[in-house]
Protein backbone atom coordinates (compact mmCIF):
# COMPACT_ATOMS: atom_id res chain seq x y z
CA UNK A 1 0.00 0.00 0.00
CA UNK A 2 2.80 2.36 0.97
CA UNK A 3 4.52 1.39 -2.25
CA UNK A 4 1.46 2.45 -4.31
CA UNK A 5 1.09 5.71 -2.41
CA UNK A 6 4.73 6.50 -3.06
CA UNK A 7 4.37 5.80 -6.78
CA UNK A 8 1.22 7.90 -7.07
CA UNK A 9 2.91 10.75 -5.19
CA UNK A 10 5.94 10.69 -7.48
CA UNK A 11 3.78 10.65 -10.60
CA UNK A 12 1.64 13.50 -9.29
CA UNK A 13 4.71 15.57 -8.48
CA UNK A 14 6.21 14.95 -11.91
CA UNK A 15 2.95 15.86 -13.61
CA UNK A 16 2.80 19.14 -11.67
CA UNK A 17 6.39 19.95 -12.59
CA UNK A 18 5.74 19.26 -16.26
CA UNK A 19 2.73 21.55 -16.35
CA UNK A 20 4.24 24.28 -14.17
CA UNK A 21 6.70 25.49 -16.81
CA UNK A 22 4.15 25.93 -19.58
CA UNK A 23 3.44 29.35 -20.95
CA UNK A 24 0.79 30.73 -23.23
CA UNK A 25 3.18 30.95 -26.14
CA UNK A 26 2.04 31.20 -29.77
CA UNK A 27 1.10 27.76 -31.00
CA UNK A 28 2.66 26.06 -34.00
CA UNK A 29 -0.40 25.71 -36.20
CA UNK A 30 0.22 23.15 -38.97
CA UNK A 31 -2.79 24.55 -40.86
CA UNK A 32 -1.01 27.88 -41.21
CA UNK A 33 2.25 26.49 -42.51
CA UNK A 34 4.03 28.54 -45.16
CA UNK A 35 7.18 28.14 -47.22
CA UNK A 36 9.19 31.21 -48.23
CA UNK A 37 12.49 32.10 -49.82
CA UNK A 38 14.02 35.20 -48.34
CA UNK A 39 17.10 37.25 -47.65
CA UNK A 40 18.26 37.82 -44.07
CA UNK A 41 18.31 41.52 -43.27
CA UNK A 42 18.95 41.49 -39.55
CA UNK A 43 19.74 39.00 -36.80
CA UNK A 44 18.57 39.68 -33.27
CA UNK A 45 18.51 37.88 -29.97
CA UNK A 46 15.48 38.69 -27.90
CA UNK A 47 13.34 37.27 -25.13
CA UNK A 48 10.19 35.74 -26.62
CA UNK A 49 8.69 33.51 -23.98
CA UNK A 50 8.66 33.61 -20.22
CA UNK A 51 10.98 31.08 -18.66
CA UNK A 52 13.05 30.36 -21.76
CA UNK A 53 16.39 31.49 -23.07
CA UNK A 54 16.34 34.42 -25.52
CA UNK A 55 15.38 33.46 -29.06
CA UNK A 56 17.34 33.93 -32.23
CA UNK A 57 15.07 35.89 -34.55
CA UNK A 58 15.79 36.60 -38.21
CA UNK A 59 14.30 39.66 -39.85
CA UNK A 60 13.95 38.59 -43.46
CA UNK A 61 12.66 39.98 -46.74
CA UNK A 62 10.79 37.59 -49.00
CA UNK A 63 12.28 37.19 -52.46
CA UNK A 64 10.03 38.67 -55.14
CA UNK A 65 7.40 40.29 -52.94
CA UNK A 66 9.91 42.09 -50.66
CA UNK A 67 7.50 41.42 -47.81
CA UNK A 68 9.09 41.50 -44.34
CA UNK A 69 8.80 38.69 -41.78
CA UNK A 70 10.21 38.00 -38.35
CA UNK A 71 11.31 34.37 -38.25
CA UNK A 72 11.57 32.74 -34.86
CA UNK A 73 14.39 30.19 -35.01
CA UNK A 74 15.26 28.69 -31.62
CA UNK A 75 16.53 29.66 -28.21
CA UNK A 76 20.26 30.05 -27.71
CA UNK A 77 21.16 29.08 -31.24
CA UNK A 78 23.03 32.34 -31.40
CA UNK A 79 26.29 30.68 -30.39
CA UNK A 80 26.02 27.55 -32.46
CA UNK A 81 25.46 28.84 -35.98
CA UNK A 82 26.65 31.97 -37.67
CA UNK A 83 23.81 33.42 -39.75
CA UNK A 84 24.74 36.58 -41.63
CA UNK A 85 22.81 39.49 -43.02
CA UNK A 86 22.50 39.11 -46.81
CA UNK A 87 22.31 35.30 -46.74
CA UNK A 88 19.57 33.60 -48.76
CA UNK A 89 17.43 31.24 -46.74
CA UNK A 90 14.42 29.00 -47.30
CA UNK A 91 12.02 28.72 -44.42
CA UNK A 92 9.19 26.34 -43.66
CA UNK A 93 7.12 27.42 -40.70
CA UNK A 94 3.81 28.42 -39.23
CA UNK A 95 2.41 31.94 -39.41
CA UNK A 96 1.83 32.97 -35.81
CA UNK A 97 -0.74 35.35 -34.46
CA UNK A 98 1.40 37.94 -32.75
CA UNK A 99 0.90 41.65 -32.22
CA UNK A 100 2.76 44.04 -34.52
CA UNK A 101 2.76 44.99 -38.15
CA UNK A 102 5.41 42.50 -39.26
CA UNK A 103 4.08 38.93 -39.41
CA UNK A 104 5.96 36.25 -37.48
CA UNK A 105 6.84 32.77 -38.71
CA UNK A 106 7.68 30.04 -36.21
CA UNK A 107 10.30 28.16 -38.21
CA UNK A 108 10.17 24.38 -38.58
CA UNK A 109 12.94 24.07 -41.16
CA UNK A 110 15.68 26.47 -42.09
CA UNK A 111 17.68 25.87 -45.26
CA UNK A 112 20.93 27.78 -45.15
CA UNK A 113 24.14 27.41 -47.16
CA UNK A 114 22.97 24.15 -48.70
CA UNK A 115 22.20 22.66 -45.30
CA UNK A 116 18.79 21.95 -43.83
CA UNK A 117 18.28 22.55 -40.11
CA UNK A 118 15.25 20.82 -38.67
CA UNK A 119 14.06 22.96 -35.80
CA UNK A 120 10.73 21.24 -35.17
CA UNK A 121 9.05 18.07 -36.32
CA UNK A 122 6.07 18.06 -38.69
CA UNK A 123 3.71 18.55 -35.78
CA UNK A 124 5.59 21.54 -34.43
CA UNK A 125 7.35 19.94 -31.51
CA UNK A 126 10.78 21.51 -30.91
CA UNK A 127 13.79 19.45 -31.81
CA UNK A 128 16.55 22.01 -31.51
CA UNK A 129 17.74 20.67 -28.19
CA UNK A 130 18.85 17.46 -29.79
CA UNK A 131 20.07 19.19 -32.93
CA UNK A 132 21.84 22.44 -33.49
CA UNK A 133 22.00 23.31 -29.83
CA UNK A 134 24.70 20.79 -29.21
CA UNK A 135 26.96 22.97 -31.35
CA UNK A 136 26.23 25.90 -29.13
CA UNK A 137 29.53 25.79 -27.35
CA UNK A 138 32.21 23.36 -26.29
CA UNK A 139 30.33 20.85 -24.18
CA UNK A 140 32.87 18.07 -24.09
CA UNK A 141 34.09 18.93 -20.63
CA UNK A 142 37.32 17.32 -19.57
CA UNK A 143 38.65 17.04 -23.09
CA UNK A 144 41.83 18.75 -24.23
Amino acid sequence: MRYRIAVVSILAALAVISVAGQTSAPFYNVDKEVRIEATVREIILEPRYKGTAPFLVLRVEESGSAKAFNVEIAPSWFFGQDVHGGEKVKIVGSLAETPGSVPTIIARELMLRGETFKLRDKHGFPSWQGGPKRNRGPRRFGSS
Binding site: L11, P26, R48, Q129, G130
Partner: protein
Protein backbone atom coordinates in the same frame (compact mmCIF):
# COMPACT_ATOMS: atom_id res chain seq x y z
CA UNK B 1 6.02 -11.06 -9.55
CA UNK B 2 8.22 -8.46 -7.91
CA UNK B 3 10.34 -8.21 -11.08
CA UNK B 4 7.22 -7.80 -13.19
CA UNK B 5 6.00 -4.98 -10.95
CA UNK B 6 9.41 -3.35 -11.01
CA UNK B 7 9.47 -3.43 -14.82
CA UNK B 8 6.02 -1.89 -14.91
CA UNK B 9 7.09 0.77 -12.40
CA UNK B 10 10.20 1.66 -14.40
CA UNK B 11 8.12 1.98 -17.58
CA UNK B 12 5.56 4.22 -15.85
CA UNK B 13 8.29 6.37 -14.30
CA UNK B 14 10.07 6.74 -17.63
CA UNK B 15 6.85 7.86 -19.28
CA UNK B 16 6.24 10.33 -16.47
CA UNK B 17 9.78 11.61 -16.18
CA UNK B 18 10.36 12.36 -19.86
CA UNK B 19 7.55 14.92 -20.18
CA UNK B 20 8.52 16.37 -16.83
CA UNK B 21 12.09 16.63 -17.97
CA UNK B 22 11.13 19.08 -20.70
CA UNK B 23 14.44 18.73 -22.44
CA UNK B 24 16.00 16.17 -24.71
CA UNK B 25 17.01 12.60 -24.21
CA UNK B 26 19.54 11.49 -26.79
CA UNK B 27 20.61 7.89 -27.38
CA UNK B 28 23.53 7.10 -29.59
CA UNK B 29 25.08 3.89 -30.83
CA UNK B 30 28.19 3.91 -33.00
CA UNK B 31 30.22 1.04 -34.35
CA UNK B 32 33.81 1.72 -35.41
CA UNK B 33 36.28 -0.54 -37.16
CA UNK B 34 39.95 0.38 -37.47
CA UNK B 35 42.94 -1.38 -38.98
CA UNK B 36 45.33 0.46 -36.69
CA UNK B 37 44.18 1.17 -33.17
CA UNK B 38 47.53 2.40 -31.85
CA UNK B 39 48.46 4.29 -35.01
CA UNK B 40 51.96 2.86 -35.36
CA UNK B 41 53.67 0.82 -38.08
CA UNK B 42 52.64 -2.37 -36.27
CA UNK B 43 48.93 -2.24 -37.02
CA UNK B 44 46.49 -3.72 -34.54
CA UNK B 45 42.92 -3.99 -35.82
CA UNK B 46 39.95 -3.57 -33.54
CA UNK B 47 36.23 -2.85 -33.46
CA UNK B 48 34.72 -0.42 -31.01
CA UNK B 49 31.11 -0.14 -29.91
CA UNK B 50 29.98 3.10 -28.33
CA UNK B 51 26.82 3.58 -26.32
CA UNK B 52 25.87 7.07 -25.19
CA UNK B 53 23.01 8.67 -23.27
CA UNK B 54 22.68 12.46 -23.01
CA UNK B 55 20.14 14.45 -21.04
CA UNK B 56 19.74 18.11 -21.84
CA UNK B 57 17.42 20.63 -20.27
CA UNK B 58 16.93 24.40 -20.28
CA UNK B 59 15.92 26.35 -17.20
CA UNK B 60 15.36 29.72 -18.85
CA UNK B 61 18.79 30.91 -20.01
CA UNK B 62 20.52 28.23 -17.91
CA UNK B 63 21.04 24.82 -19.48
CA UNK B 64 21.97 21.57 -17.86
CA UNK B 65 23.75 18.70 -19.56
CA UNK B 66 24.48 15.20 -18.31
CA UNK B 67 26.11 12.55 -20.43
CA UNK B 68 27.29 9.00 -19.89
CA UNK B 69 29.13 6.98 -22.51
CA UNK B 70 30.68 3.55 -22.66
CA UNK B 71 33.19 2.47 -25.31
CA UNK B 72 33.74 -1.26 -25.62
CA UNK B 73 36.79 -2.55 -27.50
CA UNK B 74 36.31 -5.95 -29.07
CA UNK B 75 39.91 -7.22 -29.39
CA UNK B 76 41.76 -5.17 -26.77
CA UNK B 77 39.07 -5.20 -24.13
CA UNK B 78 41.50 -3.81 -21.57
CA UNK B 79 41.10 -0.42 -23.23
CA UNK B 80 37.33 -0.18 -22.79
CA UNK B 81 36.32 2.94 -20.96
CA UNK B 82 33.45 4.86 -19.45
CA UNK B 83 33.05 8.64 -19.44
CA UNK B 84 30.65 10.87 -17.56
CA UNK B 85 30.06 14.60 -18.05
CA UNK B 86 28.04 17.09 -16.09
CA UNK B 87 27.75 20.72 -17.03
CA UNK B 88 25.81 23.94 -16.92
CA UNK B 89 25.83 26.78 -19.36
CA UNK B 90 24.30 30.20 -19.29
CA UNK B 91 23.46 32.72 -21.98
CA UNK B 92 23.22 36.43 -21.23
CA UNK B 93 22.13 38.90 -23.85
CA UNK B 94 23.97 42.20 -24.17
CA UNK B 95 21.64 44.10 -26.42
CA UNK B 96 19.83 42.66 -29.46
CA UNK B 97 22.98 41.82 -31.38
CA UNK B 98 25.36 40.54 -28.71
CA UNK B 99 25.49 37.85 -26.07
CA UNK B 100 27.77 36.36 -23.46
CA UNK B 101 27.97 32.63 -22.98
CA UNK B 102 29.36 30.92 -19.88
CA UNK B 103 29.82 27.22 -19.23
CA UNK B 104 31.17 25.18 -16.34
CA UNK B 105 31.42 21.47 -15.97
CA UNK B 106 33.19 18.43 -14.69
CA UNK B 107 34.11 15.16 -16.35
CA UNK B 108 35.49 11.77 -15.51
CA UNK B 109 37.12 9.20 -17.77
CA UNK B 110 37.54 5.74 -16.35
CA UNK B 111 39.61 3.15 -18.20
CA UNK B 112 39.93 -0.49 -17.44
CA UNK B 113 43.10 -1.71 -15.80
CA UNK B 114 45.35 -1.73 -18.87
CA UNK B 115 44.82 1.96 -19.48
CA UNK B 116 44.12 2.96 -15.93
CA UNK B 117 46.97 5.51 -15.96
CA UNK B 118 44.80 7.64 -18.30
CA UNK B 119 41.79 7.67 -15.98
CA UNK B 120 41.08 11.25 -15.04
CA UNK B 121 38.82 13.76 -13.38
CA UNK B 122 38.60 17.27 -14.81
CA UNK B 123 36.91 20.62 -14.56
CA UNK B 124 36.29 23.13 -17.31
CA UNK B 125 35.30 26.81 -17.47
CA UNK B 126 34.40 28.73 -20.57
CA UNK B 127 33.44 32.31 -21.31
CA UNK B 128 32.55 33.64 -24.75
CA UNK B 129 31.20 36.79 -26.34
CA UNK B 130 29.61 37.09 -29.76
CA UNK B 131 28.45 40.25 -31.45
CA UNK B 132 27.32 41.37 -34.89
CA UNK B 133 29.53 44.29 -35.93
CA UNK B 134 27.20 44.70 -38.91
CA UNK B 135 24.58 42.14 -40.02
CA UNK B 136 27.11 40.50 -42.35
CA UNK B 137 30.07 40.40 -39.94
CA UNK B 138 30.50 38.59 -36.61
CA UNK B 139 33.13 39.05 -33.92
CA UNK B 140 33.73 36.33 -31.34
CA UNK B 141 35.95 36.20 -28.27
CA UNK B 142 36.41 33.09 -26.18
CA UNK B 143 38.41 31.95 -23.16
CA UNK B 144 38.57 28.41 -21.88
CA UNK B 145 40.34 27.04 -18.82
CA UNK B 146 40.78 23.43 -17.88
CA UNK B 147 42.19 21.39 -15.01
CA UNK B 148 42.58 17.63 -14.91
CA UNK B 149 44.11 15.09 -12.57
CA UNK B 150 45.06 11.62 -13.76
CA UNK B 151 45.54 8.28 -12.09
CA UNK B 152 49.16 8.67 -13.13
CA UNK B 153 49.95 12.15 -11.88
CA UNK B 154 52.61 12.74 -14.57
CA UNK B 155 49.77 13.94 -16.82
CA UNK B 156 48.09 16.37 -14.38
CA UNK B 157 47.70 19.74 -16.04
CA UNK B 158 46.21 23.20 -16.13
CA UNK B 159 45.50 24.81 -19.48
CA UNK B 160 43.91 27.84 -20.99
CA UNK B 161 43.14 29.10 -24.47
CA UNK B 162 42.00 32.53 -25.61
CA UNK B 163 40.64 32.95 -29.12
CA UNK B 164 39.36 35.72 -31.34
CA UNK B 165 37.58 35.36 -34.65
CA UNK B 166 36.01 37.69 -37.16
CA UNK B 167 34.10 36.85 -40.32
CA UNK B 168 32.42 38.58 -43.23
CA UNK B 169 29.68 37.34 -45.56
CA UNK B 170 29.57 38.70 -49.11
CA UNK B 171 26.60 38.84 -51.51
CA UNK B 172 28.46 36.39 -53.79
CA UNK B 173 27.63 33.81 -51.08
CA UNK B 174 31.24 33.81 -49.99
CA UNK B 175 32.24 33.80 -46.32
CA UNK B 176 35.73 34.73 -45.16
CA UNK B 177 36.79 34.06 -41.59
CA UNK B 178 40.00 34.73 -39.66
CA UNK B 179 40.88 33.25 -36.27
CA UNK B 180 43.70 33.85 -33.81
CA UNK B 181 44.40 31.79 -30.70
CA UNK B 182 46.77 31.71 -27.76
CA UNK B 183 47.03 28.56 -25.70
CA UNK B 184 49.14 27.45 -22.75
CA UNK B 185 49.27 24.07 -21.07
CA UNK B 186 51.14 23.53 -17.82
CA UNK B 187 51.95 20.00 -16.71
CA UNK B 188 52.15 20.14 -12.93
CA UNK B 189 54.73 17.37 -12.40
CA UNK B 190 55.60 15.59 -15.66
CA UNK B 191 59.08 14.32 -14.77
CA UNK B 192 60.22 11.03 -13.29
CA UNK B 193 62.79 11.09 -10.49
CA UNK B 194 66.33 10.70 -11.84
CA UNK B 195 67.21 6.99 -12.05
CA UNK B 196 70.47 5.54 -10.81
CA UNK B 197 71.44 4.20 -14.29
CA UNK B 198 71.86 6.42 -17.38
CA UNK B 199 68.66 7.29 -19.20
CA UNK B 200 69.83 5.91 -22.55
CA UNK B 201 70.61 2.55 -21.01
CA UNK B 202 67.15 2.47 -19.48
CA UNK B 203 65.51 3.19 -22.81
CA UNK B 204 67.59 0.60 -24.66
CA UNK B 205 66.82 -2.05 -22.10
CA UNK B 206 63.14 -1.37 -22.08
CA UNK B 207 62.37 -0.46 -25.70
CA UNK B 208 62.69 -4.08 -26.73
CA UNK B 209 63.29 -3.59 -30.43
CA UNK B 210 60.74 -3.39 -33.23
CA UNK B 211 57.21 -3.28 -31.95
CA UNK B 212 58.76 -3.25 -28.54
CA UNK B 213 57.09 -3.03 -25.25
CA UNK B 214 58.17 0.44 -24.24
CA UNK B 215 59.55 1.68 -21.02
CA UNK B 216 59.13 -0.64 -18.11
CA UNK B 217 56.19 0.66 -16.21
CA UNK B 218 57.63 1.44 -12.88
CA UNK B 219 55.47 4.52 -13.10
CA UNK B 220 55.80 7.09 -10.41
CA UNK B 221 54.76 4.73 -7.75
CA UNK B 222 51.09 5.58 -8.20
CA UNK B 223 49.90 3.93 -11.37
CA UNK B 224 51.25 0.47 -10.86
CA UNK B 225 50.07 -0.46 -14.36
CA UNK B 226 52.37 1.60 -16.58
CA UNK B 227 51.24 3.74 -19.48
CA UNK B 228 49.49 3.71 -22.78
CA UNK B 229 49.77 0.82 -25.16
CA UNK B 230 53.02 -0.59 -23.88
CA UNK B 231 51.40 -3.88 -23.05
CA UNK B 232 50.18 -4.32 -26.60
CA UNK B 233 52.05 -5.09 -29.74
CA UNK B 234 52.64 -1.99 -31.77
CA UNK B 235 53.93 0.74 -29.49
CA UNK B 236 56.86 1.95 -27.50
CA UNK B 237 54.36 3.07 -25.02
CA UNK B 238 54.62 6.49 -23.57
CA UNK B 239 58.16 7.48 -22.46
CA UNK B 240 58.61 10.18 -19.81
CA UNK B 241 61.70 12.27 -19.08
CA UNK B 242 63.75 12.05 -15.94
CA UNK B 243 64.71 15.06 -13.88
CA UNK B 244 66.36 15.43 -10.54
CA UNK B 245 64.83 18.88 -10.17
CA UNK B 246 61.22 17.86 -10.73
CA UNK B 247 58.77 20.74 -10.97
CA UNK B 248 56.33 21.59 -13.74
CA UNK B 249 56.67 22.31 -17.43
CA UNK B 250 54.63 24.46 -19.75
CA UNK B 251 54.12 24.69 -23.49
CA UNK B 252 52.51 27.69 -25.17
CA UNK B 253 51.37 28.37 -28.72
CA UNK B 254 49.81 31.01 -30.91
CA UNK B 255 47.91 30.11 -34.04
CA UNK B 256 46.29 31.90 -36.95
CA UNK B 257 43.78 30.46 -39.36
CA UNK B 258 41.87 31.52 -42.43
CA UNK B 259 38.74 29.99 -43.88
CA UNK B 260 36.91 30.66 -47.13
CA UNK B 261 33.50 29.12 -47.79
CA UNK B 262 31.39 29.30 -50.94
CA UNK B 263 27.81 28.24 -51.50
CA UNK B 264 26.82 27.06 -54.99
CA UNK B 265 23.08 26.75 -55.46
CA UNK B 266 21.14 25.02 -52.71
CA UNK B 267 23.06 21.81 -52.96
CA UNK B 268 26.80 22.42 -52.88
CA UNK B 269 28.95 23.97 -50.19
CA UNK B 270 32.71 24.35 -50.60
CA UNK B 271 35.26 25.41 -48.02
CA UNK B 272 39.02 25.70 -47.72
CA UNK B 273 40.98 26.51 -44.59
CA UNK B 274 44.56 26.86 -43.43
CA UNK B 275 45.95 26.89 -39.89
CA UNK B 276 49.47 27.85 -38.84
CA UNK B 277 50.53 27.20 -35.26
CA UNK B 278 53.76 28.29 -33.58
CA UNK B 279 55.11 27.06 -30.25
CA UNK B 280 56.15 30.28 -28.51
CA UNK B 281 57.24 29.00 -25.11
CA UNK B 282 58.45 25.73 -23.62
CA UNK B 283 58.26 22.31 -25.24
CA UNK B 284 56.66 18.92 -24.74
CA UNK B 285 57.93 17.52 -21.44
CA UNK B 286 57.84 13.89 -22.60
CA UNK B 287 60.51 12.02 -24.55
CA UNK B 288 58.07 10.12 -26.76
CA UNK B 289 54.37 10.61 -27.32
CA UNK B 290 51.65 8.65 -29.04
CA UNK B 291 48.16 9.30 -30.25
CA UNK B 292 45.59 6.56 -30.35
CA UNK B 293 42.44 6.11 -32.33
CA UNK B 294 39.48 7.17 -30.25
CA UNK B 295 41.36 7.27 -26.95
CA UNK B 296 42.25 10.64 -25.53
CA UNK B 297 45.98 10.64 -24.90
CA UNK B 298 47.12 13.28 -22.40
CA UNK B 299 50.66 13.39 -23.86
CA UNK B 300 49.53 14.41 -27.36
CA UNK B 301 46.89 17.04 -28.09
CA UNK B 302 46.31 20.41 -29.72
CA UNK B 303 48.98 22.02 -27.51
CA UNK B 304 51.77 19.63 -28.64
CA UNK B 305 52.65 20.74 -32.14
CA UNK B 306 54.19 23.45 -34.27
CA UNK B 307 53.35 23.50 -37.97
CA UNK B 308 50.43 23.91 -40.32
CA UNK B 309 47.31 22.20 -41.57
CA UNK B 310 45.38 22.63 -44.82
CA UNK B 311 41.82 21.45 -45.39
CA UNK B 312 39.38 21.33 -48.28
CA UNK B 313 35.78 20.21 -47.90
CA UNK B 314 32.67 19.64 -50.04
CA UNK B 315 29.17 19.36 -48.64
CA UNK B 316 26.31 18.03 -50.78
CA UNK B 317 22.77 18.49 -49.55
CA UNK B 318 20.98 15.71 -51.43
CA UNK B 319 17.25 14.94 -51.73
CA UNK B 320 15.41 12.97 -49.05
CA UNK B 321 17.33 14.59 -46.19
CA UNK B 322 20.59 12.97 -47.18
CA UNK B 323 23.84 14.87 -46.72
CA UNK B 324 27.27 13.90 -47.99
CA UNK B 325 30.37 15.57 -46.60
CA UNK B 326 33.83 14.78 -47.81
CA UNK B 327 37.18 16.39 -47.22
CA UNK B 328 40.94 16.20 -47.44
CA UNK B 329 43.39 17.42 -44.80
CA UNK B 330 47.14 17.73 -45.05
CA UNK B 331 49.22 18.50 -41.99
CA UNK B 332 52.89 19.08 -41.25
CA UNK B 333 53.47 18.95 -37.49
CA UNK B 334 56.65 19.11 -35.45
CA UNK B 335 56.60 18.16 -31.78
CA UNK B 336 59.21 20.29 -29.93
CA UNK B 337 60.96 18.36 -27.18
CA UNK B 338 59.99 14.97 -28.60
CA UNK B 339 62.85 12.92 -30.04
CA UNK B 340 62.62 10.65 -33.05
CA UNK B 341 63.85 7.17 -32.21
CA UNK B 342 64.97 4.25 -34.28
CA UNK B 343 63.04 1.02 -34.08
CA UNK B 344 65.71 -0.17 -31.65
CA UNK B 345 64.76 2.66 -29.30
CA UNK B 346 67.92 4.71 -29.85
CA UNK B 347 67.33 8.47 -30.24
CA UNK B 348 68.06 9.66 -33.79
CA UNK B 349 68.91 13.23 -32.81
CA UNK B 350 65.96 14.67 -34.76
CA UNK B 351 62.89 16.37 -33.36
CA UNK B 352 59.83 14.37 -34.35
CA UNK B 353 58.00 15.61 -37.43
CA UNK B 354 54.88 14.02 -38.96
CA UNK B 355 53.36 14.60 -42.41
CA UNK B 356 49.80 13.38 -42.72
CA UNK B 357 47.22 12.95 -45.47
CA UNK B 358 43.66 12.42 -44.27
CA UNK B 359 40.68 11.65 -46.50
CA UNK B 360 37.25 11.46 -44.94
CA UNK B 361 33.65 11.09 -46.08
CA UNK B 362 30.37 10.97 -44.19
CA UNK B 363 26.91 10.10 -45.50
CA UNK B 364 24.01 10.95 -43.22
CA UNK B 365 20.29 10.40 -43.55
CA UNK B 366 17.93 12.19 -41.18
CA UNK B 367 14.59 10.73 -40.24
CA UNK B 368 11.95 12.38 -38.12
CA UNK B 369 13.28 11.18 -34.79
CA UNK B 370 16.65 9.68 -35.58
CA UNK B 371 19.64 9.90 -37.88
CA UNK B 372 21.85 7.21 -39.34
CA UNK B 373 25.31 7.72 -40.74
CA UNK B 374 28.13 5.90 -42.44
CA UNK B 375 31.63 7.35 -42.45
CA UNK B 376 35.01 6.42 -43.83
CA UNK B 377 38.50 7.79 -43.21
CA UNK B 378 41.91 7.00 -44.61
CA UNK B 379 45.14 8.22 -43.02
CA UNK B 380 48.66 8.09 -44.44
CA UNK B 381 51.18 9.28 -41.84
CA UNK B 382 54.91 9.66 -42.44
CA UNK B 383 57.12 10.43 -39.46
CA UNK B 384 60.79 11.00 -38.72
CA UNK B 385 60.22 8.39 -36.01
CA UNK B 386 59.80 5.19 -38.06
CA UNK B 387 57.43 3.63 -35.56
CA UNK B 388 54.90 6.33 -36.42
CA UNK B 389 54.96 5.86 -40.17
CA UNK B 390 51.67 4.14 -40.82
CA UNK B 391 48.50 3.92 -42.92
CA UNK B 392 45.03 2.92 -41.92
CA UNK B 393 41.40 2.72 -43.00
CA UNK B 394 38.59 3.50 -40.62
CA UNK B 395 34.91 2.72 -41.05
CA UNK B 396 32.17 4.02 -38.80
CA UNK B 397 28.42 3.64 -38.74
CA UNK B 398 25.86 4.67 -36.24
CA UNK B 399 22.41 5.69 -35.22
CA UNK B 400 21.43 8.68 -33.13
CA UNK B 401 17.99 8.93 -31.64
CA UNK B 402 16.68 12.24 -30.28
CA UNK B 403 13.70 12.23 -28.01
CA UNK B 404 12.65 15.85 -27.50
CA UNK B 405 10.22 16.25 -24.70
CA UNK B 406 9.40 19.91 -25.11
CA UNK B 407 5.95 21.30 -25.78
CA UNK B 408 4.31 22.09 -29.07
CA UNK B 409 3.86 25.81 -28.48
CA UNK B 410 6.39 28.57 -29.00
CA UNK B 411 8.80 26.57 -26.95
Amino acid sequence: MIMKNMRRLVSILMMAVLPAWGGTVNFLFNQHATQNLFQTKDAVADQISIFSLTLDHDFSALSFLAKAEYSAFNQTSGMSFFTADLGFDYLVTAGPKSAFYFAAGGAGEFYRQTYDAFSSLGANLLGAFKTYLVPSSILKLQWQGQYAVYKDSLFDFLSQTAALSIDKYFPTRTTLKADAEYGYKYFLHPYMPEPAEPILATILMSAGGPGGQGLSGTGNGESGGGWGGRQYQGGYGFIPRYSSEGGGAGIGHVSASLLAAQGIGDVIGLSASAVRQWIVSGENPFLSIEEFYFVQNPSSDSFSWDGYQLNGRITLNLPWDVALKTGYTYSDKTYPGVESMGLDGVPLGVVRNDLRHLLDARLQKDFRRFSVFLAYSYVDNTSTDPLFTWKSNYIMGGIEWNLPTGRKGGV
